[in-house]
């Protein structure tokens, strides 16, 4: 029997022991003795969430292709096991070998959302790795972070040795080779970090120092090690049809959030919604070829036995060969009981035709993400969706037999007025009214509209990175106002309104545009028991407020403050391709409610062309085509 780090008794006492035993289908087994580098790849949340993440599967596959590397996985132990590990002093272990993580060469942590920050500290703590990078000795693993939150790594800068800015496919090989070389020469940790700092895209936070003005803004961000560059250039994989992609993804032994084959059809987005960080940092849009996708779809379904395949991208409708790909999947796999899931699809005739083929119309719902309630505000955020398109799409769907609609909106967008908020209720009602124009005998029962709002959090590398975020009180006021308006609508009974928690949004806003002063706050909150902040049952806002205050921080400095153009932003040392000038210009455009055409219509000169590929070099389509 495979060696396990936990005893039978512990495994049988905790929830879902399968989270901790490894042994999944397609799990990579290597002899740890016969590799040069042991890499622990961590998603700092519970197993079911972490196992659903495509990025880790890509990197796991990529690292393990190397004979000299054994990449294993680690997830956050759930609260029940966390307690036992602390009581019994069991060090955190990797799933494959069940060996302690502290004995590995690297600990890689993916940073997918801000609310996982305390879980990073939990991982380090349970692994018995010093939480602060500066306290780590020669034998501690190199702790490296990557993912969307690495685009502003400053609130967690003190806990990492290296941040990888950009897409993982590009410079990991170089980094691993440098590590081997450094080890061979018998050089130490500092020497390795200096080598790493010279690799494009890698940021070693301890080589930089920040000083602040009296008002808390950044006075300077300076190099204190000559090996480090002053600007870190984001990494992008420019040939997505000739790169690593798992052929045999891991299949967990228990049900996880994303229990299906995920086919990433393209990376990036042409739309340029001004609130959307992903739409900016993954520029330029790059498509994978149809042949590549067909082949991978076939291989992955065969190797996993999954009964569902899902297309992944920021806006699937913009993929050039979408129809061909979707019809291929339906013809090839639809008859074999494979579900085909198409998220982020714009509702149009094609989408409705496909949806009626792949799902039960009576049970499924249509999803629209207008994001804002009025055309004025949709223009501010550059969301190209118009009321006309929504109503037309909804009507076609209603005629096709659908009667459920989901709508997603944000509250607290820049320049938002009460009229814009009321627009959310009015639009929800208009869709219901549209439904009831269909003669009664042709309707499929009552219409159900579910409108959800989240609160807008300004993110780095978006045109709204300078904007003032609403306060918790303002958010709640907006929510109450909207709730009242929803009730006033003619079809109020057909509309269900869902909302999001305001407190957790405030904390997300603090971290999103935070600086290094927050490291201490995160440390203190963690030591005081904050963990799994993304889980509402564990989120303790009171503790966070306490530690912000104890550290002399007025959090409104990070959230509810309009920044000036000249201000040094904590993430200014990162060159994400999209220039600060472009973002500012977009911010100005937003304030005037002026729309910027998408990348395929007209180049907006964002700066992403420096990557030398993608949409920036496609022949421009005719005005209005594809839209």
């Amino acid at each position: 029997m495979k060696k396990l780090a936990l005893s039978d008794e512990i495994l049988l006492k905790i929830e879902k022991p399968a989270r901790y035993i490894g042994n999944e289908v397609n799990c990579v087994v290597k002899n740890p003795e016969s590799v040069d580098i042991r890499f622990a790849m961590c998603f700092p949340d519970v197993y079911e969430i972490g196992m659903s993440h495509l990025g880790i599967q890509i990197l796991y596959d990529m690292f393990n292709r190397r004979d000299d590397v054994y990449c294993e996985r680690v997830y956050s132990p759930w609260i029940d096991l966390d307690k036992i590990m602390r009581e019994q002093k069991i060090p955190l272990f990797a799933l494959e070998s069940q060996d302690p993580v502290r004995d590995f060469d690297f600990l890689g942590i993916t940073l997918q959302y801000e609310m996982c920050y305390t879980n990073i500290l939990q991982i380090l703590d349970l692994a018995e790795i010093p939480i602060y990078a500066k306290e780590r000795g020669e034998d501690a693993p190199i702790v490296i972070g990557g993912g969307p939150c690495a685009y502003n790594p400053e609130p967690i800068a003190d806990f990492f040795d290296i941040f990888y800015i950009g897409e993982g496919e590009t410079v990991y090989d170089e980094l691993l080779d440098a590590y081997k070389e450094n080890k061979k020469q018998g050089a130490g940790r500092l020497s390795f970090l200096e080598r790493a700092a010279q690799i494009e895209g890698l940021y070693v936070p301890q080589f930089y120092e920040t000083s602040y003005h009296e008002d808390g803004t950044i006075a300077s961000f300076q190099l204190i090690n000559s090996h480090a560059p002053s600007l870190i250039k984001k990494q992008a994989e420019m040939n997505l049809s000739d790169t690593v992609y798992p052929q045999k993804p891991l299949v967990p032994l228990i049900k996880v959030t994303q229990d299906r084959v995920v086919l990433e059809i393209q990376r990036g987005c042409i739309r340029g919604c001004r609130f959307c960080q992903a739409g900016m940092i993954y520029r330029p849009i790059r498509e994978r070829s149809l042949d590549f996708l067909k082949e991978r779809a076939y291989e992955m379904l065969k190797a996993t036995g999954h009964e569902e395949i899902s297309l992944s991208s920021l806006s699937s409708s913009d993929y050039s060969h979408l129809q061909e790909l979707v019809y291929f999947l339906i013809d090839e796999f639809g008859t074999k009981g494979v579900n085909i899931s198409l998220p982020s699809l714009r509702i149009d005739a094609f989408a409705l035709e496909v949806m009626s083929k792949v799902q039960d119309v009576r049970k499924s719902s249509l999803t629209f993400a207008p994001e804002a309630g009025s055309q004025r505000l949709r223009d501010v955020i550059n969301k190209g969706l118009t009321e006309e398109i929504i109503l037309k799409g909804a009507m076609e769907a209603f005629q096709g037999g659908w009667n459920r609609v989901k709508l997603y909106f944000m509250l607290g967008l820049p320049t938002e007025t009460e009229e814009d908020i009321e627009g959310i209720a009015v639009l929800s009602d208009k869709i219901a009214r549209e439904y009831y124009t269909i003669p009664k005998d042709q309707r499929n029962g009552k219409v159900q509209i579910v409108s959800s709002t989240s609160f807008f959090v300004p993110k780095p590398f978006t045109p709204f990175q300078w904007t003032r975020m609403a306060t918790g009180e303002e958010f709640l006021e907006k929510q109450r106002f909207l709730n009242g308006k929803m009730r006033e609508q003619l079809n109020a009974k057909s509309i269900k309104y869902n909302w999001h928690e305001a407190e957790v949004t405030t904390l997300e806003g603090i971290f999103a545009r935070g600086d290094r002063k927050l490291c201490q706050v995160i440390y203190d909150a963690y030591k005081d028991g904050c963990i799994y902040d993304a889980w509402s049952e564990y989120f303790d806002y009171g503790k966070w407020l306490k530690h912000l205050e104890a550290n002399g921080i007025d959090y409104r400095f990070y959230t509810s403050r309009e920044r000036k153009k000249e201000e040094i932003l904590p993430w200014d040392f990162i060159d994400a391709g999209v220039t600060k000038d472009f973002l500012w210009q977009e911010y100005e455009q937003a304030k005037q409610g002026a729309v910027t055409p998408n990348c395929r219509q007209k180049c907006a000169g964002c700066g992403a062309m420096t990557f030398g590929g993608g949409v920036c070099f496609e022949p421009r389509r005719k005005e209005g085509a594809n839209d």
């Binding site: 022991p17 032994l253 036995g305 009964e307 074999k336 039960d360 049970k363």
Partner: protein, 264 residues
């Protein structure tokens, strides 16, 4: 449509995977092996699989049974090989038999089960275990209280413990060499008992209940973590075709056959 009965084992770390996840595991393994399984009709078709008796988390087994309906089948041996190639070494198919069209599902045919209950190392042993267990069994009746949602009922275990032994040889009446390979884990302390218990939809007795009663008889409490329970076989009773609980049900003698030999 072809009906087939799949016998498989479950050992090692796979014991931590619960019944619903084992079902999901098979659904995916069947796809990986490209078995021509039959699906239900409708918008969310599912494979036509049914399991004889869900095994609890933490238990291991040499004899799990799953009935599957197939559109076509090359040969049982070929299917077994294809499936084993894509399954965990800790969960492997032992035997596939085809069933008569009219055969009852494994779940409905279930009449008895064999278990091995072993003390795990590191937990206190029962002094004179074998002697004490015999004393326990030799009582006139073994009364236990079974708690249901609404009430407590008293039942006598005695007639439901069909047999017991301390070695596999005496349990089955044949030598170790001629017995099938078992995946049951062995423990250094050597304290173990083999039990044959009634099971099925009419009366179902779990080995945990027997051990709990035994320890209560000794004046001690049962620690569920101290024992490893391993299922060894599942049986149908050819003399109780409606699933009556013998010997109280149909009044005939029991005639137990492993589920893999039933319904051909």
């Amino acid at each position: 449509m072809i009906k087939a009965r799949v016998k498989f084992n479950k050992s090692g770390t796979m014991k931590f995977i619960g019944h619903l996840d084992v079902m999901r595991y098979f659904q995916k393994a069947i796809r990986r092996a490209d078995i021509d399984v039959a699906y239900s009709q409708g918008f969310s078709p599912h494979q036509l699989l049914s399991f004889a008796s869900p095994l609890g988390v933490g238990l291991t087994s040499d004899a799990e049974y799953m009935d599957v309906q197939l559109n076509s089948l090359s040969s049982p041996e070929d299917m077994k090989q294809k499936m084993n190639a894509v399954m965990s070494m800790e969960m492997q198919i032992l035997e596939i038999t085809t069933l008569a069209e009219s055969s009852k599902p494994a779940m409905a045919a279930l009449a008895a089960a064999d278990y091995l209950v072993s003390l795990k190392d590191g937990y206190p042993a029962v002094p004179d275990f074998e002697k004490r267990f015999q004393e326990f069994y030799n009582q006139e009746s073994i009364l236990i209280t079974k708690k249901t949602k609404k009430r407590e009922i008293q039942m006598d275990l005695k007639s439901y413990i069909y047999k017991y032994a301390y070695t596999r040889e005496s349990f089955y009446g044949k030598s170790e060499e001629t017995s099938a390979i078992t995946t049951a884990q062995e423990y250094k302390n050597g304290q173990k008992v083999y039990l044959q218990l009634i099971c099925g939809s009419v009366v179902n007795i779990k080995p945990e209940q027997v051990m709990e009663a035994f320890l209560a008889y000794l004046g001690e409490s049962y620690n569920p973590f101290a024992y490893q329970i391993h299922r060894m076989e599942l049986y149908a009773d050819t003399n109780a075709p409606k699933g009556e609980a013998n010997p109280n049900g149909c009044g005939k003698e029991r005639h137990l056959v492993p589920l893999s030999n039933y319904g051909k």
